[in-house]
C-alpha cells in the first residue's frame, strides 16, 4: 500500500512537472513584474529591435525612477519570431500595453480594433507637433491615428571612395549602365588584389531586393512592389530592362565572388576591409554598422542615390518607417499606456538623442534641425531624407498580405530564376503578372482584400 502511495505521488509529481513545463514563461515574468513593483501599475512594452534596446532601456529606467504616476515600465526584447509572439498574445489576450511597429502585425490587426486611436488622448500641441507624420491610409485610417512614425529609412548606394578614386571613377553612378561599367572596371583592374566592383547579399532575395530593385522601380516609373496604382493592377512587364542589368551586375565580371550565399553582415565586413566597391542598403543601418560593428574610417565611404535605368526621377522612392509604437486598445490601462508612450517616446530629448546617436534617421523636421549629428551622418547628405524620397501608398498585399496569396514563387524568388537561372525574361514576367493579378482578384472576391486604384496618381507626389 505504501509502495502504491509513493508510486502515485511520483506519478502526480511527474505529470505536474510536465504540465508546468508546457506553461508559458512569459506569464511568469509578468507576474514577477507585478510582485516586484508592489502597488505600482505595470506597463509592458515589447520591442523586436536590438540595435536601440540599450538606449531605450536607459530612458525607461529614468522614467521608472522619476514618474509620478506610480508606474513601472517593463521593457522586453523579442528579436525572434516577433510576429508569432504577437499572434499568440492576441489569441490569449496577453498582448502588452505598447509594442514596436511591425507592418505585418499592424496591418493584420488594424481592422480588429486592436490598436488605440491616439487622437483620443492627444492634446492639440501633440497633434500640431506631429501633423506632418500623418499619412492617410497608412497610419491614419478613417480618421483614426494608430501610430506616429518618427524615423524612416530608404535605400542608397553605399560606395568606397578610395576604390573609386583608385580606378579613376569621379562620381558614383546614376544609371544602371554606368553602375555595370563601374563595377566591371573595378573588378577587372583590382580583382587581383581581392577587390571587386559590386556586391549584394543575395542569399535572401527578398532582403536584398527590397532595399534595391524595389526602390529602383519606384523611382523609375512609380511601380511599387509590382503594383501600378494608376491602373489598379500588378504589372511586372516593366521590370525587364532593370533585371537585364542585374544579371550583368551579378555576373563574374562585376560581382564579388559568392554573392549567391552572402548575408548582409559578411558583406559589410568585406566592405569595411576595402574589398567591395559598392553595394546598396538602408540609410538607417549603415552608419552605426561602420561606427561600432565593423569599424571603418568614415572618410572612406559615402552614400548616393540608387542608380536607375534612365537616371531620371519619375517617381518618389519609398520611406519605410523604422521607429514607431502601437498602443494596445484592449489593455486595461490603455490611457495610462498612452501617457507612458507619450512621456518616453515622443519627447524632443528622446527623439533628438535617438537621431544623434544614429539609431534611426529622423523624419521630423524640428528634430532634423535641432540634432547635432556625428560625422558618420552629418557629412553624408544622402544618408538623410531628400527630395527623391516620399511615403508611398500601400499596395494591396501590404494592406493585407492574406489578400494576395500568390500561387508559386513570389516576385523576389522569381527574379532569382531570371538573374541566376535560365528563365526566359518576357514569359516569366508575364506569368508573374498573371499570377499576382489572379491572386489579387481572388482576394477581392473572397472579401479579404479591397481594390486599390488611385485616380490621377502622380508618383512624384504620392
Amino acid at each position: 500500500m505504501k509502495k502504491k502511495l509513493v508510486s502515485l505521488l511520483l506519478i502526480s509529481a511527474m505529470t505536474m512537472t510536465m504540465l508546468a513545463g508546457c506553461g508559458g514563461s512569459d506569464q511568469k515574468e509578468t507576474k514577477e513584474g507585478n510582485d516586484a513593483s508592489g502597488d505600482k501599475t505595470v506597463i509592458t512594452i515589447w520591442t523586436k529591435d536590438r540595435h536601440d534596446a540599450n538606449y531605450i532601456q536607459e530612458k525607461v529606467d529614468v522614467y521608472n525612477e522619476t514618474n509620478t504616476d506610480n508606474v513601472q515600465v517593463e521593457y522586453q526584447l523579442y528579436t525572434d519570431n516577433f510576429d508569432q509572439a504577437v499572434d499568440l498574445a492576441v489569441q490569449s489576450g496577453e498582448l502588452p500595453d505598447i509594442l514596436t511597429l511591425n507592418d505585418q502585425v499592424y496591418n493584420k490587426y488594424v481592422n480588429q480594433g486592436q490598436w488605440l486611436d491616439l487622437y483620443e488622448y492627444m492634446d492639440n500641441d501633440m497633434k500640431e507637433y506631429f501633423k506632418d507624420e500623418v499619412y492617410e491610409g497608412i497610419n491614419e485610417i478613417d480618421g483614426k491615428l494608430y501610430y506616429i512614425p518618427t524615423c524612416g529609412t530608404t535605400g542608397r548606394l553605399i560606395y568606397n571612395k578610395e576604390i573609386f578614386e583608385k580606378v579613376g571613377i569621379d562620381a558614383p553612378p546614376t544609371t544602371m549602365k554606368e553602375m555595370v561599367e563601374d563595377a566591371k572596371l573595378i573588378t577587372s583592374e583590382l580583382s587581383g588584389e581581392g577587390i571587386y566592383g559590386y556586391a549584394q547579399h543575395m542569399k535572401s532575395a527578398s532582403s536584398a531586393l527590397e532595399r534595391t530593385l524595389d526602390m529602383q522601380m519606384e523611382r523609375e516609373n512609380g511601380i511599387k512592389k509590382g503594383y501600378d496604382f494608376t491602373k489598379g493592377e500588378y504589372d511586372f512587364s516593366t521590370y525587364s530592362e532593370v533585371l537585364g542589368y542585374w544579371k550583368e551586375l551579378l555576373s563574374e565580371e562585376c560581382a564579388f565572388p559568392g554573392c549567391e550565399a552572402l548575408d548582409i553582415d559578411p558583406l559589410r565586413t568585406q566592405f569595411a576591409n576595402g574589398k567591395i566597391g559598392m553595394y546598396m542598403s538602408w540609410t538607417h543601418s549603415e552608419p552605426g554598422v561602420y561606427k561600432d560593428q565593423f569599424p571603418m574610417d568614415s572618410d572612406k565611404w559615402d552614400a548616393a542615390p540608387i542608380p536607375t535605368v534612365s537616371g531620371e526621377e519619375k517617381g518618389k522612392q519609398n520611406i519605410k518607417f523604422t521607429s514607431a509604437y502601437l498602443v494596445n486598445a484592449k489593455s486595461e490601462n490603455a490611457e495610462l499606456a498612452f501617457k507612458v508612450y507619450k512621456d518616453i517616446f515622443t519627447t524632443e530629448d528622446f527623439l533628438t538623442g535617438y537621431y544623434e546617436n544614429g539609431y534611426g534617421v529622423s523624419i521630423i523636421p524640428t528634430i532634423q534641425e535641432k540634432a547635432q549629428l556625428n560625422e558618420e551622418i552629418a557629412n553624408k547628405e544622402w544618408l538623410q531624407m531628400q527630395d527623391i524620397d516620399g511615403v508611398l501608398p500601400l499596395t494591396p498585399q501590404e494592406k493585407n498580405e492574406q489578400a494576395v496569396i500568390v500561387e508559386g514563387e513570389d516576385y523576389y524568388k522569381t527574379f532569382e530564376s531570371i538573374y541566376y537561372g535560365d528563365a526566359e525574361m518576357e514569359s516569366t514576367l508575364a506569368d508573374l503578372t498573371e499570377r499576382y493579378n489572379k491572386a489579387y482578384q481572388q482576394g477581392i472576391e473572397d472579401g479579404i482584400g479591397t481594390e486599390v486604384k488611385i485616380a490621377g496618381y502622380d508618383p512624384l507626389n504620392p
Binding site: S7, I11, T15, Q112, H201, L262, I405
Partner: protein, 313 residues
Amino acid sequence: MKKEKTKMSVGYRKKMIKRNLESYSFLLPNLLLFLLCSIYPVIWTLKYVFYQYGGIGTAAPKWVGLDNLIRVFHDEVYWQSVANTFVYGFGKVLIIIPLAFFLALLLNKQTKFNGIAQSMVFLPTIMSSAVMGLVFYLLFNAYNGEINQYLMSIGIIDTPVNWLGKDHAMKTLIITAIWGGVGNYMVYFIAGLQQVAQDALESARIDGANKIQTLWYVTIPMMGPILKIILMLSITSAFNDITNVMVLTEGGPNNSTMVMALYGYKYFFPVSASSSVIPQYGYGAAVSVVSAAIAGIVTIIYLRLSKKLDDIY
C-alpha cells in the same frame, strides 16, 4: 453457468486493471506528451490540407477541398525540391554509411587512443547544426574560405571555387551533413560490432579465413539487422534535414538546394531573420503531407528490399 462465467471474467478484468493501474499510471505522462506533441499536430496538419488559412489573426479558415493538393502536384519548385531531397539523401547515405562503418572498424578496439578518436569523430553530432552551418560557411565561402585557400596552396585549383554557388552548393551541403552525422552512425556500428558473436569470429579464424574474409563473410552478415536499422534512420533523417540548408544556403541559389522539408517549412515560418513570409498554413500542410507520403513510400520500399538483412543471421 453463463452468468457465473461473465461474473468471473468481469472480476478478472477488474483485478487485472487494478494490478496494471500502477504501470499504466507511469505511462500517463509520456502518453499525454505523445498525444499532445505527436498525434495532435498530425491531425491538425491533415485537417488544414483542405483549408486556406493564413494563421492566427487572419480570416477564418476557408474550405478549399482538394485545391491545395492539386496545387502541390502542379508546383514545379516543389518537385524540384523533391528531386533535390533525393540527391541530398542518397548522396549523404551513400557516403556516410560506408565511412561510418570504416571508422567503427578502425576504432572498435578499446584503447586509450581509440577512445579519444571516437570522441573527436562524435563531437560534431552534439554541435548545434546552426553553429555547424556558420563554421562551414567560413570554410567554404568563395572569397576567403579556408578550403579554397588550402586547395590553392597545394595546387589542386588555380582560382577559388564558388562552393556555395549553383553548381556546387549541394555537394557542400552533403559534405556538411556527413561531417555532422558520421560520428553518430559510427557509434551505432561500434555497438553492432560489439554484438557480433566472438565464437563465430574465432571459428572463422580457425578455419583459416583472413581478416577481409572474416569481415565479408562473418561480421557484415551478422550485423544485418542493425545495418537495416542504421540505414533506415539515415534515410529518414536525410528527408527531414533542414537546419544545414537553412543556415548555409536558405535553399538557394535559385532553389538549387531547396529540399522538400524546407519547402513546406517556408509556408509557415520565415527561413531566416532577414527573409519574409506570407503564411499559407493550408498549402504548407498539403506540402508536408505529400512529403511525408513520399518519405513513407521510400521507407516501405527500403524495408521490403532490406528484408534479406533480417534473414542472414
